[in-house]
């Protein structure tokens, strides 16, 4: 139950090695495409530091990445594979946007919008949770379906009800009273960044320090033992999916109340954060502190990707095509995610083997009389 720092040494070393392997393979790809790997990787990893604004922007990318990763991680701790952070984020964004346009006093307005988005996202996750708990519906299938439901729901509401009459391709701006204050004036770094870090610590507290967290982990590792321990697995699964969805909903709310202030009617400005969160969580080993670092790493890459194209365009030659940048990023992400995945698979196998061994031992003891 104690925080033992040594236990983090191994995953950290593995992650570092993975990045190196990813870079090595990526280097090959870049050379094959005829570009300088030095320039390429300098821009990819260093791009985020090219200016103060770029760096602050990178930090603000951490917000949706961290929250959607937490959405994945909380469910994963209960052994539920939540692919639905994307949809949970959509409904959170919509609800935050809808509340953001009504008149409420500053201070209250943000709180109401954030809480409502949390509940909406939570409800969206809970649907998948209750379906799994009561009807054994596979959560991967249901959350993917719910993602599409959320997409078209938000698309519909944004197009027909919440659109901005002056710019109908997007929703109405939320009022100033609903916007989150900027941490540093005229940058994209807003209060949600601080809240996100707090939420990551909150997740740590919830999962490792409370009875509910105990039951979530017990259910995730060994549901039959959890049941024996007085845990109602279906309750734990639906609660953890509610909390998961809530985190996804917050990601949507913070994008709207912080960075953007609106959603495009086809959701283009908030797309895909939910899916990226899965990778962030895997790299962060489904651990909130790991997720914070992993989200920072991903944010650096995203920002660096923009810079790569500029940096490699020299002397009339156009820069690296974005597809190559994405491919190299993909390789690095896969390399980094593999150890985490490997651990998850190993744990399952190890557990199964141990159970078999116990059965093999099983034969009573000395037969005496």
């Amino acid at each position: 139950m104690r925080l033992d720092l040594r236990q983090y040494a191994k995953p950290l070393a593995e992650s570092a090695l993975s990045v190196l392997i990813g870079v090595a393979v990526g280097t090959l790809l870049v050379i094959l495409a005829g570009y300088s790997p030095v320039v390429f990787f300098k821009a990819l990893f260093g791009g985020a530091f090219r200016s103060r604004n770029a760096f602050l922007d990178t930090l603000s990318y951490m917000v949706p990445l961290t929250l959607t990763a937490i959405s994945f991680a909380v469910a994963a701790r209960a052994s539920v594979f939540n692919i639905g952070a994307e949809g949970q984020m959509y409904v959170g964004a919509l609800v935050a946007n809808a509340i953001g346009v009504v008149a409420l006093p500053n201070g209250v307005h943000q709180v109401v919008a954030i809480l409502a988005a949390f509940l909406a996202g939570g409800l969206w996750g809970w649907i998948a949770g209750i379906l799994k708990a009561k009807r054994q519906v596979n959560e991967v299938v249901s959350t993917i379906m719910l993602n599409w439901l959320a997409f078209y729901l938000v698309n519909y509401v944004a197009t027909y009800h919440l659109y901005d009459p002056k710019a109908p391709y997007k929703t109405e701006y939320v009022r100033e009273t609903a916007r989150l204050p900027e941490l540093i004036p005229r940058t994209s770094l807003t209060l949600d960044w601080v809240l996100t870090i707090l939420i990551a610590f909150l997740m740590f507290f919830l999962v490792w320090k409370t009875s509910l967290g105990y039951e979530i982990r017990a259910t995730g590792i060994n549901p039959t033992a959890a049941e024996y321990g007085g845990v109602d697995p279906s309750k734990v699964i639906s609660i953890s999916m509610f909390l998961s969805g809530g985190a996804g909903g917050l990601a949507g709310a913070f994008l709207v109340l912080g960075r953007f202030g609106f959603i495009t009617t086809t959701l283009t400005n908030i797309l895909n954060w939910g899916f990226d969160g899965i990778a962030v969580s895997l790299v962060g080993r489904n651990h909130p502190i790991g997720i914070l670092f992993s989200a920072l790493f991903f944010a650096l890459l995203y920002n660096g990707a923009l810079e790569v194209q500029v940096a490699t365009a020299t002397g009339g030659k156009t820069g690296v095509p974005i597809e190559l940048v994405l491919a190299v990023m993909g390789i690095i992400v896969i390399a980094v995610a593999v150890p985490g995945l490997w651990d998850m698979v190993q744990e399952r196998l190890l557990l199964r083997r141990k159970r078999v061994e116990v059965r093999e031992e099983a034969a009573g003891t000395v037969g005496g009389e």
Binding site: M1, K209, S211, V231, T365
Partner: protein, 523 residues
């Protein structure tokens, strides 16, 4: 001809995890004898034989078959040398018929690769007549009993012309009657000149069937002796390295009022059929009520229904007079139930959790472990864990070590300790000493007796007949979901118990006059 059918020299086996299973074992079996391989769990018996059969590779050592040095890399190699092994866990395909299972992998084929069913049947029937091992050949194996399945496994080996047979704990799954039949068969095989290695930890069986016996302890050979020249006590001493306490001290005790009552309980098993069919009994304070029976006769379902893990269809369960039928585990724990589950890794413990975390499994929502905000009280939990570790002498690197770092015996002590520290009125203990070494077994048995002496009601379900008879004040024998009878251990013979385990009711054994003080079965 060489004196020895099999000779293994200097066998060493180190598992990848670093566990040394065999520390230089010399083992020799004479042609045409029944050779016992005796040892406790983890002594290395199975590992040694798996090396001989080619399913495990030795780290070091040489194998000679009939004087010739051989390399055995797979069961196929072993089979070619005439060595066959019947594992403790059968390797049959449930949906195939008995015949298909026997010939699988060595099917007689006609031209064009068609299976020659006629030839296969003729050969297997001939084999059955020769050996006296009869099984219904056209029945899918899933419909057959464990005894029949074991016969199929043996036929499979004989079909492949094995003349050295290794049997790994073959009686573990058999009723006393089936065991008798198996022994008769083994003696016939010996007369026909086959060599048999018989792995067991049961002293009585060694005396009953073997010519010579090799005793293993912790990966080393203690000795090889002629069975006729040693007593059971000497064998026991060789096996465990010290005198075994066969009799635990059990003080006479007047039982109190019933604390656990089961009335006409009907419970469905995994398949949906009734696994428990109208079982009734009561356990009083200060009493151990044992349930004996071959495994798989509904004991698991009975225990799960009593402990809130499975909903009964009909009937009632009363805990200290209160109807708790169908209540969930945490309700039962709050009302004074302690449960030592039969499969500790599936139910009782979470291997990845620390010792401290495991010490509160089932208590995580109760004060003082949780405060009113739902936060676990770490210092309370840690104090509790330390107490459990101390009181139950659990050998652990610390309370923050994962439970997986503990030996099986210490994991079980952790479970038993946790359940007993709850101060329960009723303790349900299912297979509490399974797979444990002698010391841990003795410890757990003493603890159960102490529970009884303190006035708690103990329901003990165990496949280990000796254990049930040794500890219980009354014993119910379960067969196909019903109690065949309830008896006092001191008033019943082993044969009578064996008959009940094989499905004969007590009143039929006693000629209609069931014992007055023992409650008869319900349903």
């Amino acid at each position: 001809m060489a004196e020895y059918a099999i000779e293994m020299r200097g066998m060493v086996k180190i598992y990848p995890g670093g566990t040394v299973a065999l520390k230089g074992v010399d083992f020799a079996v004479r042609e045409g004898e029944i050779h016992g391989l005796l040892g406790e769990n983890g002594a290395g018996k199975t590992t040694l034989m798996e090396i001989l059969y080619g399913t495990r590779s030795p780290t070091e050592g040489e194998i000679f078959v009939r004087g010739r040095r051989v390399e055995i890399r797979s069961p196929r190699d072993a089979m070619a040398l005439g060595i066959g092994m019947v594992h403790q866990h059968f390797t049959l395909i449930p949906v195939f018929t008995a015949l298909e299972n026997v010939v699988l992998g060595d099917e007689p084929v006609r031209s064009a690769g068609l299976l020659d069913v006629q030839a296969a049947r003729a050969r297997v029937e001939e084999l059955m007549d020769q050996t006296g091992l009869h099984v219904p050949l056209d029945e899918p194996v899933e419909n057959l009993s464990t005894g029949e399945r074991q016969r199929i496994e043996i036929l499979k080996m004989l079909y492949r012309n094995a003349d050295i047979l290794i049997l790994d704990e073959p009686t573990a799954v058999l009723t006393p009657l089936e065991t008798k039949e198996l022994f008769a068969f083994l003696k016939r095989m010996k007369e026909e000149g086959k060599t048999i290695v018989f792995i067991t930890h049961k002293l009585r069986e060694v005396k009953a069937i073997t010519d010579r016996v090799t005793v293993l302890r912790r990966g080393e050979v203690v000795g090889t002796v002629d069975t006729a020249e040693v007593s059971m006590e000497e064998l026991a001493r060789m096996m465990v390295g010290r005198e075994v306490l066969f009799e635990l001290e059990k003080k006479p005790r007047e039982p109190e009022e019933p604390k656990l009552t089961v009335e006409d309980l009907w419970v469905r098993g995994e398949g949906g059929d009734y696994a428990v069919k109208g079982v009734s009994f009561e356990v009083r304070g200060g009493e151990i009520f044992g349930i004996a029976g071959v495994e798989g006769n509904g004991q698991t379902e009975l225990v799960e229904a009593i402990t809130g893990l499975r909903l009964p269809d009909r009937g009632r369960v009363l805990l200290a007079g209160e109807d708790v039928t169908g209540a969930r585990p945490h309700h039962l724990y709050a009302r004074g139930l302690g449960h030592i589950p039969e499969d500790r890794h599936r139910r009782g413990i979470i291997l990845e959790f620390t010792v401290a975390e495991n010490s509160i499994l089932g208590l995580q929502r109760l004060p003082p472990f949780m405060n009113k905000w739902g936060v676990l009280q770490e210092s309370v939990v840690r104090d509790w864990a330390r107490k459990v570790v101390e009181r139950f002498e659990i050998d652990t690197p610390g309370i923050d070590a994962p439970a997986s770092a503990l030996s099986g015996g210490n994991q079980q002590k952790l479970i038993v300790g946790r359940e007993i520290m709850k101060d329960p009125k009723v303790v349900v203990a299912a297979q509490p000493t399974r797979g444990l070494d002698v010391a841990a077994t003795e410890y757990i048995r003493r603890t159960l007796l102490r529970m009884r002496d303190e006035g708690r009601a103990v329901l003990l379900v165990s496949a280990d007949l000796d254990e049930v008879l040794m500890l219980s004040d009354r014993v119910g024998v379960m067969y196909e979901g019903e109690l065949m009878g309830v008896v006092r251990p001191e008033e019943v013979t082993l044969e009578e118990i064996g008959m009940m385990m094989g499905g004969v009711r007590l009143e039929d054994i006693k000629g209609g006059g069931a014992k007055a003080e023992a409650e008869s079965t319900g349903g």
